[in-house]
């Protein structure tokens, strides 16, 4: 009974924490997703043999992504602090976390985007070229469309990873459900509050998965 009362008493805090998580995850997805799309697209088109092949650009970006993508997020977050302070003005708080996570997500997403675009058949691209479509037109009206289904699934996967990052990022320098679970549940020996946060995260992730799969199915018509 105490447990339930305790959870009820903490509902306002839980709502705030959920809001913060949604804020961090949402904006990190928007910014990181967009930057990752651009970076992935550049990697794809500049790859030797592709539409705008450019060996130097491809090689440099490829090396950069290979260096940054595998860095464990906690180390990345701490190491990026100086840049975060320059860009956001502070290394603390939810907005700073959005920036850090966007950067980390960008590298991961760029690979997801690149890999999915590579599955588009060269023949289909050639067909579009053969009717007189310019390279840019082919990229935006054919390649992205053909890869849309797998791209949505890729983004869904990444979004779940971002939720994961947000919990960790929050405990270092921001708010959100991770911080709530740590400070109100774990540190104060109130496991029921940890579980309350856990349930909310599970629901959130399931919703994301469901929505992503549904959208991908629509895009793939399967």
């Amino acid at each position: 009974m105490d447990d339930i009362n305790n959870i009820i008493a903490n509902i306002p805090k839980l709502i705030t924490a959920s809001g913060e998580t949604l804020y961090i995850v949402g904006f990190a997805l928007l910014l990181g997703g967009f930057l990752g799309l651009v970076l992935g697209l550049i990697l794809y088109v500049t790859r030797p043999g592709n539409l705008l092949q450019n060996r130097p650009v491809f090689t440099i970006l490829n090396v950069i992504v290979n260096i940054f993508r595998p860095i464990p997020f906690l180390i990345f977050l701490v190491a990026l602090q100086p840049l975060t302070r320059i860009v956001v003005g502070t290394g603390n708080g939810n907005t700073a976390m959005v920036f850090t996570m966007s950067m980390a997500a960008m590298f991961g997403i760029s690979r997801v985007v690149e890999q999915n675009l590579l599955t588009v058949s060269p023949g289909v691209i050639e067909a579009a070229r053969s009717v007189g479509a310019s390279r840019l037109r082919v990229i935006f009206t054919v390649i992205l469309g053909e890869a849309l289904g797998p791209l949505i699934l890729g983004y869904t996967f990444v979004l779940v990873v971002i939720v994961d990052m947000s919990a960790l990022a929050g405990t270092i320098a921001g708010g959100g459900l991770g911080t709530f679970a740590l400070e109100n549940g774990y540190r104060q020996f109130k496991p029921e509050l940890t579980y309350a946060a856990l349930v909310i995260v599970i629901i959130l992730v399931q919703l994301i998965q469901f929505l992503g799969n549904w959208l991908a199915r629509k895009a793939l018509r399967r």
Partner: protein, 342 residues
Amino acid sequence: MALVSLTDVTKTYPDPNDRKRQIAAIDGVSLDIQAGDVYGIIGYSGAGKSTLVRLINALESASSGSILVDGAEVTTMREGELRKLRLGIGMIFQQFNLFNAKTVRANIAYPLKVAGVPKAERNRRVEELLAFVGLSEKAKSFPDQLSGGQKQRVGIARALATSPRILLADEATSALDPETTHEVLGLLKKVNQELGITIIVITHEMDVIQQIATKVAVMENGKVIENGEVYEVFSNPQHAATRRFVSTVVRGIPVGEELQTLRYRHPGRIFTVSILDGDTSQARVFEILTQAGLGFELIYGGINDIQGRTFGHLTLAVTGDDAAIESALAQISALTEIVEAR
């Protein structure tokens, strides 16, 4: 003037094993294709057929030589001019290469969008094309809901959308069964005859050439080794590769094992008579043999119809008196070519 004219065209690629060396995929090809032709290009895998057609719509750039399409030099065109050129050249593919994320209607409308055709006009044209290829009721389907033959018909409609003067078909029927192949070839014939579109058909199947081509070029190792009217090439092939292709659709003179089997089965001497178009000698040949009191039997060969002209070889086993055979032989030789199998 030829609609498409290639002069001394070469296309080289860096050798994948040794980047400093070059391999010639196309090696000094000169070819004239007249408006209205259905021009077949046949050759074994790796002969350079795909490379050759992709040079015509400049999906590939030539290493040297001149390519004129409708009098305009393609090899020196800039990107913008190339896009205009391509609006006038349709292309269909072995794997169809439809846009899988778009409906049939959107696939066909795509080239029109690229060409900047206004929406109302676009819709009208798409309906027209759907009717032409017989797929009006599939407008809202997606490519993965169609059979191979239907997919290729969408491919044809898409290629024709901008009313091009030339259609390039790269192994357009190689992924289809014989029945569907026949249908699609029929449609291509209609494209040529009703719309007056010049078609360049690439294939490795002589059947395809026989069914629709008016002219043919045989390619080997990046070179055109023989070309001309299909009838001329079929009835009188000059190169070994051409003879091999021709023999896949035409039974000629029996040799080797086939001849041995024939000898084993039939008594008498074996002769092969050439039958050419406009030649009434066939009936005369039989008459001469009968009058000479010889027994004979047709044992091998056939007569082919190419573009409404016939030719072929008939192999006969002849029995009877040797002197009578010789005299009959002399009479037949005056009419047409006759050779004894050795």
